[in-house]
C-alpha cells in the first residue's frame, strides 16, 4: 500500500493510482518516444476523468468486443479458439487505428474452458451461433423466487452450491456439497470432505481442473500480446469489471421478467438482495483493477435505463446500490467507468449526485447536450456517437456527426469521445473517419 494511503480521500487515492497508471511503470517500452506516447494517451483519459485539468484534446476510446477481429477478417470463432490470432489482431488494431486506449482482448474469452464446463449463460460462435457471430447472453431465471433467503443469507454459498450447478452443466455435482463451514472443526469437517469424494462432485471438480488448465493455457498465450499492446504505447480502458447490483440480480440470476415482477411481489427481498451484492461488486472490481495496475473499472449498466422502470422505482431499487458500488470503488482508489446502455434522459439528475470527478459515464442513446448540461463539471461524460452511422454511413457523414457531437458534449474538458456501443463489428472507413475527426476537432 502507498504511503499515507490510510489518510487519503477517495479523490487522492484515485489520483495516486492514476498517476502510477499514467506513468507506465512496469511496462517495457521500446523507447522513450513510445513511453511518452503512452503517457500522453493515458494522461488525456486521466485529465478527462478527474476534471482537474483540461486535456489537450478529448481522448478517443473505442469500446469493442469482436469488432477488432472482424475488421481483420478473423472470425469470432477463431477469436474465441485461437488466442494467438486474437492477440495479434488486437495489437494490430491498437496500432493501426491509433485510438487513445485499447480494450483488453481477454474480454473475448475462450471457447475450450466454456465447453468443458458446459457453460449455459451464453451462446458463442460454433456453440449455438454461426462462426462469424460474437457471443450472446442467454437470460433465464436461474434463481427461483424461493431462493431469495438463501441468496441474502450467503450470496457466495448460494452462488457456489446452487447457481453454478444450474448454469454450468458440468458443475451439477457442486449441488451435492454441504456448506463449507464445517471445515472449522474436526467433528464437522467429515461431511464436507466425504462429499468431496462422491462421484458427481469428483466429476465437477475434475471439470474445474480441466477448464482451469485450458484457461491457464489460453491466458499464457494471450498475455504476451496484452503486453505488446501496452508496450506499443496504448493503455487499456479497463483494469477491472463490476456491475450494478440490480443488473447482477436481473441479468444472471432472476431474469428481467421475474425480477420486474418481484418489484411488486417481494420488493423487500429485492432490496435486501441488491444490498448484499454491493460489497461483492466493490471487491470484484477493485481486486481486478489493483492486480492489473489499472484503476479504471468498467461497469456496463442495463436495466435501469429509461423505459425499464419509473424514476421512483429507479430511486428505490436501482440507484442506491449502484451509487454505493461507485463510491465504494472510489474509496479503494478505483475510477468507475459506467457504460450507460440505452438512454438515461430521465435519470441524469440522479447521476449528478456523486462526488465531483470520481466517476466516468459513457453514454449510448442519452441526449449528450443534456448530459453535458446536467453532469458538466460534476462527472466526466463520454460516448453518444451512433453506431448505426459507423455501420451504414459514409466517412463524410461520420466526420460531420463527430464534429457536431464534440460541439455539444466536449465542453472545456471532462469528455471522452466514444461510440455508444461495445461493438461486435465495425467498418474500416467509417471507424477511421471517426478517430481522425476526433483528433482534428477534439482539441481544446
Amino acid at each position: 500500500m502507498m504511503e499515507g494511503w490510510e489518510n487519503m480521500s477517495s479523490s487522492q487515492r484515485q489520483d495516486a493510482l492514476l498517476a502510477k497508471w499514467v506513468s507506465g511503470e512496469g511496462i517495457e517500452f521500446a523507447d522513450d518516444q513510445v513511453k511518452a506516447a503512452y503517457q500522453y494517451r493515458a494522461g488525456l483519459i486521466r485529465d478527462a476523468a478527474t476534471l482537474k485539468n483540461t486535456p489537450e484534446r478529448a481522448p478517443i476510446v473505442i469500446l469493442g468486443t469482436f469488432a477488432p477481429t472482424m475488421l481483420y477478417g478473423c472470425s469470432a470463432k477463431k477469436a474465441m479458439y485461437d488466442p494467438e490470432a486474437l492477440g495479434k489482431v488486437w495489437v494490430d488494431f491498437a496500432k493501426d487505428y491509433d485510438a487513445d486506449a485499447s480494450g483488453n482482448p481477454a474480454l473475448v474469452m475462450n471457447g475450450p474452458p466454456l465447453e468443458v464446463l458446459d457453460y449455459n449463460l451464453y451462446k458463442w460462435p460454433g456453440h449455438g451461433l454461426k462462426e462469424e457471430q460474437g457471443y450472446q447472453f442467454l437470460e433465464r431465471p436461474y434463481m427461483k423466487a424461493e431462493d431469495y433467503d438463501h441468496f441474502i443469507a450467503d450470496p457466495t454459498d448460494y452462488w457456489f452450491r446452487v447457481w453454478l450447478p444450474r448454469t454450468h452443466g458440468a458443475l451439477e455435482g457442486l449441488g451435492y456439497l454441504p456448506p463449507v463451514y464445517g471445515t472449522m472443526e474436526l467433528p464437522a469437517a467429515g461431511p464436507w470432505l466425504a462429499t468431496l469424494g462422491a462421484p458427481p462432485v469428483q466429476a465437477a471438480l475434475k471439470a474445474l481442473m480441466e477448464a482451469g488448465a485450458a484457461a491457464f493455457d489460453w491466458i499464457g498465450k494471450l498475455l504476451p500480446y496484452m503486453g505488446r499492446i501496452l508496450s506499443s504505447g496504448y493503455p487499456m480502458y479497463a483494469g477491472g469489471f463490476a456491475k450494478a447490483p440490480f443488473d447482477v440480480l436481473g441479468d444472471s440470476f432472476r431474469g428481467t421478467g421475474e425480477l420486474m415482477m418481484d418489484l411488486y411481489r417481494r420488493p423487500q427481498k429485492v432490496l435486501e438482495a441488491v444490498e448484499r451484492i454491493v460489497p461483492l461488486m466493490v471487491g470484484l472490481g477493485s481486486s481486478m483493477a489493483l492486480a492489473n495496475g489499472n484503476p479504471l473499472v468498467f461497469i456496463p449498466l442495463h436495466k435501469g435505463a429509461d423505459g425499464f422502470m419509473s424514476n421512483p422505482q429507479f430511486e428505490k431499487f436501482y440507484w442506491p446500490t449502484l451509487r454505493k458500488v461507485i463510491v465504494g470503488l472510489a474509496e479503494k482508489g478505483c475510477v468507475p467507468l459506467c457504460f450507460v446502455e440505452g438512454a438515461y434522459n430521465q435519470r441524469l439528475e440522479f447521476l449528478a449526485d456523486l462526488p465531483t470527478g470520481e466517476c466516468i459515464f459513457i453514454f449510448d442513446r442519452t441526449d449528450m447536450a443534456e448530459a453535458r448540461r446536467v453532469l458538466g463539471g460534476k462527472s466526466c461524460i463520454g460516448g453518444g456517437f451512433p453506431v448505426s452511422l459507423i455501420m451504414t454511413g459514409t466517412p463524410k457523414d461520420v466526420e460531420e456527426e463527430t464534429k457536431r457531437l464534440l460541439d455539444k458534449a466536449a465542453g472545456d474538458g471532462g469528455y471522452i469521445l466514444s461510440i455508444g456501443c461495445a461493438m461486435d463489428e465495425a467498418r474500416e472507413d467509417t471507424l477511421r473517419a471517426f478517430i481522425e475527426a476526433g483528433k482534428k476537432y477534439g482539441k481544446y
Binding site: G257, M309, S310, P386, M391, T392, G393
Partner: protein
C-alpha cells in the same frame, strides 16, 4: 366490478385474482369479468403512454391476464371463448443471428393488450420464414426485433424478401431494438424504428386508424 378493475390497475395481483374468483363463483357473467380486465388493461395502457407505468407493470399485467384467462376459461361456453374483434394482425420475431427476446416479448404483450392479434415467431428467424409466415398470417404490420448491429443486415434481408414476394406495399414494417435509429431505418428500408415497445404500439395504432 370496479373493485376488480382497480385491483388490476393498481397491480394488486392477489386481490385481483381473489375478486375475479369471487365474482365467478357467485355466478357473475364471465364475459363481464373479461370486460373488467379489458377495462383495466386500457387504463394500464394509458399509464404507459403517460410514462407512469413501465416494464414491471407491463409484465405483471401480462401475468395477471394469463392467470385470469385460465380462471375464466372453464366458465366460458365454446362460442364465448373464441377470439373477438381484433383491430389488426401483427407478426413479429427477432431476426436471424440474434437471440435477444426481452424487448420482443414486451412488444408482443403490449400489442396484444392494445387489441392486435399477435403472432410471435421467436428468435433467430430467417427472412425466408418471415415471408412464409406472412403469407399464411396476412399481417398488417411486421415487427423486426434485434439488439445487435448484425441485425441491420438481417432486417434488410426481410424487407428485400418482402419486396421480392410483392408484399412490401401491403404491410408496414417496424424495426425495434437498442441500436435502431434513422440511419438504421433507412438502411433496412423499414417504415419506422423504435427503441421501446410503447413507441411501437403508438405507430401501430396510428397505422391502423388510417
Amino acid at each position: 366490478m370496479q373493485d376488480l378493475v382497480n385491483a388490476v390497475v393498481e397491480m394488486m395481483e392477489d386481490d385481483a385474482l381473489a375478486l375475479a374468483k369471487k365474482y365467478l363463483e357467485a355466478g357473475a357473467d364471465p364475459l363481464q369479468v373479461v370486460e373488467a380486465y379489458k377495462d383495466a388493461l386500457k387504463i394500464i395502457g394509458q399509464r404507459f403512454e403517460q410514462g407512469t407505468y413501465f416494464v414491471p407493470e407491463l409484465i405483471l399485467a401480462g401475468e395477471m391476464m394469463n392467470g385470469a384467462s385460465s380462471l375464466i376459461k372453464p366458465y366460458l361456453s365454446h362460442e364465448q371463448g373464441k377470439g373477438d374483434g381484433k383491430i389488426g394482425r401483427f407478426l413479429l420475431g427477432t431476426v436471424e443471428g440474434d437471440i435477444h427476446d426481452i424487448g420482443k416479448g414486451m412488444a408482443a404483450m403490449l400489442m396484444d393488450i392494445n387489441g392486435f392479434e399477435v403472432k410471435d415467431l421467436g428468435v433467430d428467424v430467417s427472412a425466408k420464414r418471415f415471408i412464409e409466415e406472412a403469407k399464411k398470417f396476412q399481417p398488417h404490420i411486421i415487427g423486426l426485433s434485434g439488439l445487435l448491429t448484425l441485425s441491420y443486415d438481417s432486417m434488410k434481408q426481410v424487407v428485400q424478401a418482402l419486396n421480392d414476394a410483392g408484399m412490401r406495399d401491403k404491410v408496414k414494417v417496424i424495426i425495434g431494438g437498442g441500436q435502431m435509429d434513422d440511419h438504421a431505418c433507412q438502411y433496412v428500408g423499414a417504415d419506422a424504428w423504435v427503441i421501446d415497445a410503447v413507441a411501437g404500439v403508438r405507430y401501430a395504432l396510428e397505422w391502423m386508424e388510417k
